[in-house]
């Protein structure tokens, strides 16, 4: 579990440091794409970056997130085994490189068909951040340079459409992991894809610099809990594909939500007592969760919670 968190951190760092579109330097030669069926015609693909959701059916293929660019050929090969239909939709859950990194490569690989155009969807804040000017006044990148950027943007609380025999809802979760998060509900298949709002094997990365906040993170998790319905005795029913980690259901989301709430409460209490960030970190408010979610991400998580709550 912890090595995945390390790869995620490396991937995200690559995006934080470089302008949008540059890939982190990593060797993906030995990465194997794992495929797991989730429910009905929904699958989860797992490689090195964020999980990829695949919905296949009579209309074609819908993807959620696209991993790192070097993995796209391997992803494509696995997707072809699941469905030979055209890829018509790519939805990005948020702006980070391990979730949008493959967009351009998919765009180039997918045959162009005016009757079946490729729609790349994300919240407007994702495109805004991808095209924003870089540090020190460097010009931002454009959709001309990156045809895989999500130009089919939305800026309403949610967007819905019908595909492969079921309604699909894309909900914006404001200021959660970032300010451009989307949670996607496959209403017929009863599956929710959460992006990095929910990562059962690591602390959430609340990206303050990109509009994330702990309140938004908790609100988003609570919304996911509203969308999920367990089948029997708090198990099964609505399945949840997290940003990283295994297939989950409502009970797993509750454990994660409770962890975020408890750590937030602890940090809040220390802030009330006038503790500085270093003092808060030193008191180890995540000590009972570190062995589960990885001590490596603890300081970053605590810092994000502190900044969210204190405004400093």
């Amino acid at each position: 579990m912890k090595w995945r968190a390390a790869i995620l951190a490396a991937g995200v760092c690559g995006w934080l440091v470089s302008a949008a579109g540059q890939q982190p330097q990593q060797n993906f030669d030995n990465v194997k794409i794992q495929v797991t069926p989730v429910q009905k015609n929904i699958y989860m693909l797992f490689g090195a970056g964020g999980n990829v959701t695949v919905q296949g059916g009579k209309d074609g293929v819908l993807l959620i997130d696209t991993e790192f660019e070097p993995l796209v050929p391997k992803l494509m090969a696995e997707i072809k085994k699941l469905s030979d239909g055209p890829i018509q939709y790519i939805i990005n859950t948020h702006v980070h490189g391990d979730h949008v990194g493959g967009n351009d490569a998919f765009y180039k690989l997918i045959p162009k068909n005016p009757q079946l155009p490729l729609n790349i969807i994300a919240h407007a804040n994702v495109l805004n951040r991808l095209t924003a000017p870089g540090p020190n006044g460097a010009p931002g990148t454009s959709t001309a340079e990156h045809p895989g950027f999500p130009e089919d943007e939305y800026d309403t609380p949610y967007k819905d459409f019908y595909y492969n025999g079921e309604p699909i809802f894309i909900y914006h979760e404001p200021n959660a992991h970032t300010d451009g998060d989307s949670v996607i509900l496959f209403r017929g298949s009863d599956v929710v894809t959460t992006g990095d709002i929910f990562t059962p094997d690591s602390y959430p990365f609340i990206d303050i610099a990109r509009g994330g906040s702990v309140k938004g993170e908790i609100d988003a998790l609570d919304h996911i809990l509203e969308l999920t319905v367990p089948a029997d005795h708090q198990e099964g029913g609505t399945y949840v594909i997290p940003g990283h980690g295994r297939v989950c259901d409502e009970a797993d989301v509750v454990e994660f939500r409770d962890m975020v709430v408890i750590v937030k409460d602890r940090v809040q209490d220390l802030i009330k007592k006038g503790k500085t960030l270093d003092q808060v970190k030193a008191s180890k408010p995540t000590e009972d969760y570190d062995t589960e979610y990885g001590a490596n991400g603890a300081d970053r998580f605590v810092e994000a919670v502190y900044k969210s709550l204190s405004g400093k």
Binding site: M1, Q34, T36, M44, F46, I218, D222, L225, P230, D232, H233, Q234, E235, G236, Y239, G245, R246, V247, C248, D249, E250, A251, D252, V254, E255, R257, D258, V261, I262, D265, R266, D269, S283, P285, E287, D288, Y289, D290, T291, E292
Partner: protein, 303 residues
């Protein structure tokens, strides 16, 4: 000639038949015996009691933070069954059935049904592999069993996070649980070994006994979550902030036990711990709680 042909055919049938199976039949209805840890297993453990658990600092803090109000205020906790490892502590009556291959009559699986929250579990005996690491987890987990003489050795993975003890000492979703079942007449003995790299420093071994009870009826358990208690303003998940749980010294004072022993840990479980353990802060003159628990094979009442 005809008779020899018939013998030949019959012989072929016999020689190609699969032999009988070396196994014990666990099927039937079983009632748990509460002759060990009755107060903890049935009425419930005392708050802060981590005795006998090789718990690490993380597990201890999780237990210290635990507030049982969570079950009332967080509706998603209300109808949870126990994890399959905890169910074998005897939370409720047990029914065991099995599937046989219709052609070979080889056992394919045992199925268990525990009355509390209708917890069901399958123990596969057909050698199938466990799911991959990223598959979903369940309360029962995924169990496979292999016979060793008269003992069934079971391995369970893919468990959801649950508890080792119902006062908040957790068992993570990364645990691997092995069990060893054997039967002696009307007694079923189940040994449960929990290997949890997240919350335990070494394996936790607990063993329980069940008695054959063919007359019992186990009914399904229907549960529908409903808000029971309104959340106080601003409270999503009840818990104790570190260092604020006021109940942690109770069990030491009620039973005259050194506080350090109550905190658990592998070093407190060895016989030599008695040489180094401290003195209790308070020793009652006599038993005041659960003194007659189980008397005349009856209930476990506080007084």
């Amino acid at each position: 000639m005809k008779i020899f042909k018939q013998i030949g055919i019959a012989g072929l049938l016999v020689l190609t038949s699969v032999p009988g199976y070396s196994e014990i039949d666990f099927t039937g209805s079983w009632t748990p015996l509460f002759h060990e840890d009755y107060p903890e297993r049935f009425p419930g453990p005392e708050l802060g009691d981590y005795m006998g658990i090789p718990v690490n600092a993380a597990g201890r803090l999780r237990g210290d933070s635990y507030d049982a109000d969570r079950i009332s205020m967080v509706s998603q906790y209300e109808c949870r069954p126990h994890g399959s490892d905890y169910n074998m502590r005897g939370s409720a009556n047990l029914r065991i059935s099995r599937d046989l291959d219709p052609v070979t009559q080889a056992p394919v699986a045992f199925h268990t049904f525990i009355g509390f929250q209708s917890a069901q579990r399958t123990i596969w005996l057909d050698g199938r592999p466990h799911p991959p690491e990223y598959a979903d987890h369940s309360w029962a987990g995924f169990s496979t069993g292999v016979w060793d003489g008269n003992m069934l050795n079971i391995t369970t993975t893919h468990l959801k996070e649950y508890y080792i003890r119902r006062n908040g000492v957790p068992r993570s979703d990364q645990a691997v649980v092995t069990e060893h079942w054997t039967r002696h007449g009307n007694y079923l003995t189940v040994i449960v070994v929990i290997n949890d790299p997240v919350f335990l420093t070494e394996p936790l071994v607990r063993s329980e006994n069940w008695i054959y009870d063919p007359g019992q009826e186990i009914l399904p358990s229907n549960c529908e979550p409903a808000p029971e208690v309104p959340n106080p303003p601003g409270v999503i998940t009840p818990h104790h902030l570190p260092g604020t749980n006021p109940f942690l010294h109770e069990v030491a004072d009620w039973y005259g036990i050194p506080y350090d022993a109550v905190r658990g840990g592998a070093e407190t479980m060895r016989p030599e711990y008695r040489k180094v353990m401290g003195k209790p802060e308070h020793v009652p003159e006599k038993c005041e709680r659960y003194c007659d628990c189980g008397k005349d094979a009856g209930a476990c009442n506080l007084h």
